[in-house]
């Protein structure tokens, strides 16, 4: 087609590769009016279909998922869990020894910017610019209560090591102390009010003093009297305008009386609290030092800067064997492209997060005894939950964003193609529905029924069920009112395979609701006989509608009989969290993937592990498999070939053929290419159970549809990076 980029009379230009035609105002070819438009970069939100061996694959790239930037980190030494607060107000709990599996997600709310996060004992508190202190109920994965501090926006929150008090720094210049009492906190007192806002706080480990970072100054308060002991002025930057205040973004108070501060001038300053004098200052960046964290032994400090670097300082004896130690700048890590808003030095690693939304776990090699997959470098880009649910039978996909849902219909393609080739698209994918939430809360979970008729989602406070009507291109939904009372909120939602029932997991139990055209009816509640009170994060229903499995964050997996509505059995508890599970359609075996990449198959009828699972455990898995760093997110079964189990994580798609032998550690793990080159006879002896496909990258979801096509939802990280705000401009050598 001729377009405005085409000269009069010329042949129509083709958009260059990687670009596509974007027609702004269509012309009239018959009247000679060309289209007006431009070549734009392909956003990849056109669905590509490619034929791949056995499956037709829908490559979906139009899920515009953007994770939220990381604002705060808190590490709990006792439980070894990291709490991560994001810009959208959500709080996530990662379990460090279990390969940093994202155990819990507490969705945020609109207008709830978290500024600080603090563990006090086993309790997690956050405070934000809305001026409220929030405590979280971690078992039920929701907000326990919020409390207004009455001091304006809160910039910092920190609890003392004794676990008795919580201090918050407010916009009005007060440091407010709250006493922790059973189930709640109580305001105790204000420390001396300052003129400027309190940006950062740090308790002395003894709990008797607190250091507060402000504009241009650091103040030390005595907790007993509430009066200031010292006021230390921080220099404004050299070369910057004098009027620009120096913000002390972060302070750390050490037990030997040293205070370390990081400020907007780019300096790390080391102060003495006895005299209130500056001991040493290190210039580490031209922009801001935004976060500081000290190791448990107080021999190392990490600082996050807005250039995306983490700088480590260590307390080192300058002369070996002497006690005379100094803070020396040692390592620099650059794993972020954007500002680092939060750092935490945990036992064996440095965890950092920032505006580029990735959580990076950089192991400190000198602290690690044995190098293993558990202590490897990790960059966590995507949540360890599924954000996409597919209606297998009707080819619909439901995308879960924080504040809305999108329902898309998959495209259709023409005929057959060679394996590996891409097919022509006959019909483009179509966005059927954009469902915007009302209220402040963000979506916690959502699901679309396999038939595509029902959509359900839940926030922390409410659950909505919709019926979808599709008639000649007209899509309409009706909200189902008068839901049973049990469906007030859900932690996880799931439909039965025939779409007749909805399973809604509340904290410990699963409610069963039957769906019909008339509406829904509460059928019953499934409760485990015993076990923990942790919330359920995974549900799996069997194809024949007989069984339901639920997994909770205490790694327990319960199996319920849906006919008797009773708990059937409990799978022996494994030390690592379940990341994905599925019930085999024919054998009714529960297939479970764990965060440490182990896999188990449990026969529901026999209530024991299957022979194959035992073989796997006996022989062990290949080290390359165990060293993968993202958890498997879905377990699917190929109805055409019952021995095939399909798994996927963020980087690959894997088919496990249970009929083939398992690879031992010496065997070539990624052997598809070598197999191809081998003659037919040898191929058999060389092949093993794992077939890995790395064609796709940055996978959010893979689902096998009823028509034997695979839906692969990708979210390329490069696309994500382009949608983030621009990072600080840094001069690079030779540019």
């Amino acid at each position: 087609e001729a377009c405005s980029t085409t000269e009069d009379g010329d042949e129509p230009l083709l958009c260059p590769t990687g670009y596509e035609c974007h027609i702004i105002s269509p012309g009239n070819p018959s009247a000679g009016i060309p289209n007006r438009g431009q070549c734009i970069k392909q956003r990849g939100n056109s669905e590509l279909k490619s034929a791949m061996g056995e499956f037709k694959v829908h490559r979906v790239r139009f899920f515009d998922y953007i994770p939220s930037g990381i604002r705060a980190l808190a590490f709990n030494q006792d439980t070894e869990r990291i709490a991560v607060a994001r810009m959208d107000g959500s709080v996530e709990i990662f379990h460090c020894p279990d390969r940093c599996f994202q155990e819990k997600i507490i969705p945020g709310r609109e207008q709830c910017g978290i500024e600080g996060l603090s563990w006090v004992g086993g309790r997690l508190f956050s405070a934000g610019l809305n001026g409220e202190i929030t405590e979280y109920d971690l078992t039920n994965q929701k907000v326990k209560y919020t409390l207004d501090a009455y001091g304006g926006p809160i910039w910092a929150i920190t609890g003392n090591q004794q676990g008795t008090h919580l201090a918050v720094g407010c916009e009005d210049g007060t440091v407010k102390l709250f006493e922790l009492i059973e189930d709640t906190i109580q305001f105790e007192r204000n420390l001396d009010r300052q003129k400027s806002r309190i940006i950062s706080l740090s308790w002395h480990p003894s709990g008797s003093k607190i250091a507060a970072g402000m504009m241009d100054a650091i103040q030390i308060f005595n907790i007993e009297t509430g009066h200031s002991i010292h006021r230390m002025l921080v220099d404004r930057g050299v070369g910057t305008s004098r009027s620009r205040e120096c913000v002390v973004w972060s302070v750390v108070y050490l037990s030997n009386g040293t205070i370390i501060s990081g400020d907007s001038v780019g300096m790390i300053k080391i102060w003495d609290d006895q005299t209130g004098t500056l001991i040493k200052s290190h210039f580490i960046t031209k922009s801001d030092v935004l976060a500081l964290s000290v190791s448990r032994d107080e021999d190392s400090i990490v600082a996050g800067t807005s250039e995306g670097t983490v700088v480590q300082f260590q307390f080192i004896a300058m002369v070996l064997g002497k006690d005379d130690k100094e803070w020396v700048r040692t390592r620099t890590f650059k794993n972020h492209t954007h500002d680092i808003r939060a750092v935490a030095e945990i036992t064996t690693a440095v965890v950092s997060g920032g505006m580029d939304t990735h959580l990076v776990v950089k192991p400190l090699l000198d602290k690690i005894e044995v190098k293993s997959a558990a202590s490897a470098f990790r960059k966590i880009c995507f949540p360890h939950r599924r954000l996409v649910s597919c209606a297998k039978k009707s080819g619909l996909m439901l995308f879960q964003y924080t504040g809305h849902l999108e329902l898309w219909k998959l495209g259709e393609s023409e005929g057959q193609g060679m394996p590996g080739s891409s097919l022509l698209i006959k019909k483009n994918p179509e966005k059927l529905l954009h469902l915007k939430l009302k209220g402040e809360d963000h979506i916690r979970c959502s699901a679309v029924s396999p038939c595509g008729e029902w959509i359900v989602y839940s926030t922390a406070s409410s659950l909505r069920l919709y019926q979808l009507h599709c008639a000649n291109n007209n899509v309409s939904i009706t909200k189902i009112s008068n839901l049973p009372k049990v469906l007030s909120s859900a932690n996880q939602l799931c439909f039965s395979s025939d779409s007749s029932h909805l399973f809604s997991a509340s904290t410990q139990s699963v409610h069963l609701v039957s769906l019909s055209q008339d509406g829904c009816k509460f059928v019953g509640t499934l409760k485990p006989k015993s076990g923990s009170h942790q919330a359920i994060h995974l549900l799996a229903a069997s194809e024949d509608g007989k069984w339901l499995a639920s997994a909770n964050s205490d790694h327990e997996v319960h199996i319920y009989n849906l006919q008797t509505l009773k708990a059937h059995c409990t799978v022996p508890v494994y030390s690592s969290a379940v990341t994905a599970m599925g019930i085999h359609p024919t054998t009714n075996c529960l297939f479970m993937m764990h965060a440490d990449q182990q896999m188990f198959e449990y026969s529901i009828e026999l209530k024991q592990y299957t022979d194959w699972s035992r073989t796997v455990q006996r022989k062990g898995l290949h080290s390359l498999w165990l060293n993968r760093d993202t958890p498997c997110l879905n377990v699917m079964f190929n109805p055409q070939n019952p021995s095939h189990v399909i798994l996927h994580d963020a980087y690959m798609l894997c088919i496990i053929d249970q009929s083939l032998p398992l690879p031992d550690d010496k065997a070539l793990f990624y052997n598809q290419l070598t197999l191809k080159s081998l003659p037919e006879k040898q191929r058999k002896s060389q092949s093993h159970a794992f077939k890995v496909c790395k064609t796709f990258k940055d996978i959010l979801c893979v689902e096998l549809m009823s028509d034997q096509s695979l839906v692969v939802v990708e979210r390329p990280l490069e696309d994500l990076a382009t949608q983030l705000p621009a990072p600080i401009k840094q001069k690079k050598f030779a540019t």
Binding site: K280, H282, F283, I284, Q314, I316, A317, M318, V319, L320, G321, E326, V328, R329, T330, R331, T332, L365, D366, F733, A734
Partner: protein
């Protein structure tokens, strides 16, 4: 069959002074550096060479101050010895014979009586690995001691000596090789090693290039190939070691050096920028750019006031601690190749050759000192790999040294060749060459050779080029430039059957010009530009062409790759020819002699002959193992009078030649050398301690007096002149900055001219002896201060105040002495305008 001759090939002058880091004396008044077979002591203020500590017979590979006595220095050499010197006075104190070639030395205060040497691994001397051994120096009074107590400290260390460094107070030694850093603690006798990945994720090369240790803290700085500097700490643990990284250099870090206080770290590399990092505040750095060649070594004086950087262009730069360059000590610049011939500037008698890129350097061989650089290209040189820069490829002086012709070219490798012919006139006022004419398109293709006419009256330049023409250039012959007669223009263009001219040469009286065209020599008359005759060579392209001199001026010599031919120009017939492959033919401008270097069966032989007779005067087999393409006769300062036939050719001028390894070698007579050596040795034996030049002067004088006082009075009547003039010579040869005040010298100067009366002497003798005993006491204290000697001098001056009566003959003698001295001085003034 080797001819029995006492002429040897010796390394002479122009040695590398950048091979090893230089060393500052404790008072930072002197800087010492290894230079060839000797150690040179330079003054940091005047940049003048004070002494050359000679005695090693092979390359000096390391120097270090004796920690026990800061006036002494250890030097080690590939000849397998370690020598201890008093560098202030230039005296060899002791020689320790190790027996193996030594590659580097380090010492520490903590390890008394031990020096650490790097030797090659005993098992296979060919491998690049060295081992570090501790040598216990035996305490013996003898001058030459064999050090037998060797104990290996560590093996497999890098062959680069800057990869090994002693740590804080000698507690540990750090040595790096390839990708591994090892730290050996002497007390615990334990080695910790840390290795790096060959490349990091970004593909940077991590191999170690140098190591330095902090003087007070336990911190090791290492330089890497990718330009990073790592500061290692906590290295007494296998796991908890830590390092921080500094990165400014974009290419390998050649050297690192902590300042003595440990407050700063200096680093240098190919960028020729000295970088000073503030220790502890890693971001703060200071840069000193544009230092010339790549920085190879950095040394800091013990008070931290001065730094000395060694550069790849054979230069030492002395830098103050406030980053100001305060001195440059330039050695003979040797690039990868010398494109110009070796030449002698007829005025200054300096050796002229390619120096820094785009420059000609003038180097005084006699003083072994770089005189100055002449910028030929006059364009900024940019250090960048692969950039094609203008290079001076040809240069030639006329016979008086008043004209210099140069050719610079660019793009020889690529097709687009650019070249300029430049003519430089000597300016008496500025004592330098000034650009007179630039000829942009002298020829259409590159110039192969050029020469000036040798006549005194008219200067003429002849160039031959690949375009098949030779051109003669004259001053102001062109009609267009008549307003100024000084410019050069083309006078004649000649060619011969479109053959490519290869070489040209003027006869000694400039009446004939010989131009060789491949296999044909054409003889032209420069007056009429008429071709006189052609001489047809036996097959082979002509390489070198030269006329005989003086009595042999009727001969023309030519070489091909197989033959050396001598033509008689009177008969136009071949006089004689020999089949020898001559790589370089060099006539001596002061005699009839011609030197021919011939390369045969992997070594070069030298023949010196007169064109008149085919029998060589002198033959030296196996001069070196490489081809010799550059050689030059340098006029002797004063003619020698050797009677020996084989060495007679060295009487007027000395032959220097350059091997392909860029070693400047010369032929020297053993007898002469021995004489020089013995004279210096005698001085050393005379007063083995604390000999300053001034003291030497004084002591000699006194000795003379003592001689006079000996019972045989016959010496009293001896003419005093030789002794006096020797004293004056000493006086004049001593650098001005080490001389005492002129007032002090004056009386002595006069004294030296006076003839002492013996009668007075007798009384003096006792007091003289007393002074000697005093002197010995001082010697036992090992240090003698300059003021003492001055006092002594005054004492002596007062003694001499007793005016001696002069006989008439003596008075005459005195007058004569004064006269001669005066003329001497005048000569000196003339020569140093």
């Amino acid at each position: 069959m080797v001819e029995k001759s006492d002429i040897r090939v010796v390394r002479c002058g122009g040695s590398k002074i950048n091979l090893r880091p230089s060393v500052f004396s404790t008072d930072s008044r002197f800087v010492l550096c290894a230079s060839g077979d000797s150690v040179k002591v330079y003054s940091t203020r005047t940049e003048e060479c004070l002494h050359s500590l000679q005695g090693h017979t092979n390359q000096v590979t390391g120097i270090t101050l004796n920690p026990a006595n800061h006036l002494q220095v250890y030097s080690c050499s590939a000849d397998g010895t370690v020598k201890l010197w008093d560098f202030i006075d230039g005296i060899l104190i002791k020689t320790f014979i190790i027996g193996y070639p030594v590659f580097a030395i380090c010492v520490s205060e903590k390890h008394e009586g031990i020096i650490f040497l790097q030797l090659s691994m005993a098992t296979n001397s060919k491998s690049e690995c060295l081992q570090l051994v501790a040598v216990h120096l035996p305490k013996s009074a003898e001058q030459e001691v064999e050090a037998k107590e060797l104990s290996a400290v560590c093996s497999h260390i890098s062959s680069n000596p800057s990869c090994t460094a002693l740590g804080r107070g000698g507690e540990f030694i750090a040595f790096a090789r390839h990708l591994q850093l090892n730290v050996y603690f002497f007390r615990k006798q334990k080695t910790y090693s840390f290795s790096l990945q060959a490349t990091d994720k970004k593909g940077a090369k991590n191999a170690f290039t140098c190591v330095a240790c902090h003087p007070t803290d336990d911190c090791i700085a290492t330089g890497h190939e990718d330009g990073k500097i790592r500061l290692w700490r906590n290295f007494n643990q296998k796991k908890e070691y830590t390092y921080s990284t500094l990165h400014w250099h974009h290419n390998a870090v050649n050297t690192l050096c902590f300042t003595p206080e440990g407050t700063h770290l200096l680093s240098g590399g190919i960028e020729s920028v000295l970088v000073q990092w503030k220790y502890g505040a890693d971001n703060k750095k200071e840069l000193l750019p544009r230092l010339g060649g790549a920085i190879l070594h950095i040394a800091a004086s013990s008070d931290g006031q001065l730094f000395c950087t060694s550069h790849s262009d054979n230069k030492l730069t002395v830098i103050e601690s406030n980053f100001k360059v305060c001195g440059v000590i330039q050695g003979l610049v040797k690039g990868d190749d010398v494109l110009t011939d070796l030449m002698i500037d007829p005025r200054s008698k300096a050796l002229v050759l390619n120096g820094r890129p785009g420059h000609l350097q003038f180097y005084s061989l006699l003083r072994d000192k770089h005189l100055y650089n002449l910028d030929i290209v006059q364009q900024e040189y940019i250090y960048e790999a692969g950039l094609d820069q203008f290079e001076v490829v040809k240069a030639v002086f006329d016979i008086k040294g008043s004209w210099l012709a140069t050719v610079e070219e660019r793009g020889r490798k690529s097709s687009d060749l650019e070249f300029f012919l430049k003519l430089w006139a000597y300016d008496e006022k500025t004592q330098s060459f000034v650009l007179n004419t630039t000829i942009t398109a002298a020829h259409t293709d590159r110039i192969i050779s050029m020469c000036f006419s040798s006549s005194e009256e008219t200067t003429m330049l002849v160039t031959t080029a690949e375009d098949g023409q030779f051109k003669a250039w004259c001053q102001g012959a062109d009609a267009d430039t008549q307003q100024d007669q000084n410019f050069w223009s083309c006078d004649f263009v000649g060619s011969y059957h479109n053959l490519k001219p290869t070489n040209c040469s003027f006869s000694a009286d400039s009446s004939l010009l010989a131009v060789s065209f491949q296999e044909v020599i054409t003889i032209w008359s420069p007056e009429t530009w008429e071709m006189l005759t052609t001489l047809c060579q036996p097959p082979g392209e002509i390489r070198d062409l030269c006329f005989g001199r003086l009595s042999c001026s009727k001969y023309l010599l030519s070489t091909t790759n197989r033959n050396l031919c001598c033509w008689n120009l009177l008969t136009c017939a071949l006089e004689w020819s020999t089949s020898v492959e001559v790589s370089k033919l060099q006539p001596d401008p002061l005699s009839e002699n011609v030197a021919a270097f011939s390369y045969q069966s992997k070594h070069t032989d030298l023949f010196v002959f007169k064109p008149s007779e085919p029998r060589p005067l002198f033959t030296h087999k196996n001069v070196c193992s490489e081809k010799v393409h550059r050689a030059v006769f340098v006029p002797q300062e004063e003619p020698l009078n050797n009677c020996d036939e084989s060495s007679q050719w060295l009487n007027r001028s000395q032959l220097y030649f350059l091997t392909q390894n860029m070693d400047l070698l010369t032929f020297n007579q053993a007898t002469e050398e021995d004489r020089m050596l013995s004279s210096s040795k005698r001085l050393v034996i005379d007063d083995s301690v604390a000999v300053t030049p001034f003291y030497l002067l004084l002591g000699k004088h006194r000795q003379q007096q003592q001689n006079l006082n000996t019972p045989s009075y016959t010496g009293a009547d001896k003419p005093q002149q030789p002794q006096g003039s020797a004293t004056i010579k000493e006086l004049l040869h001593t650098p001005a900055h080490v001389l005492p005040a002129a007032s002090v010298l004056c009386s002595m100067f006069v004294n030296s001219l006076l003839i002492s009366k013996t009668g007075v002497r007798e009384e003096m003798e006792s007091s003289e002896q007393e002074m000697d005993s005093e002197k010995e006491e001082e010697e036992s204290e090992e240090e003698m201060e300059a003021c003492d000697s001055q006092q002594e001098l005054r004492a002596q001056g007062s003694v001499d105040e007793v005016t001696p009566k002069l006989s008439k003959a003596q008075e005459k003698e005195l007058k004569r002495v004064r006269k001669t001295d005066f003329s001497w001085m005048a000569g000196l003034i003339d020569s140093k305008p």
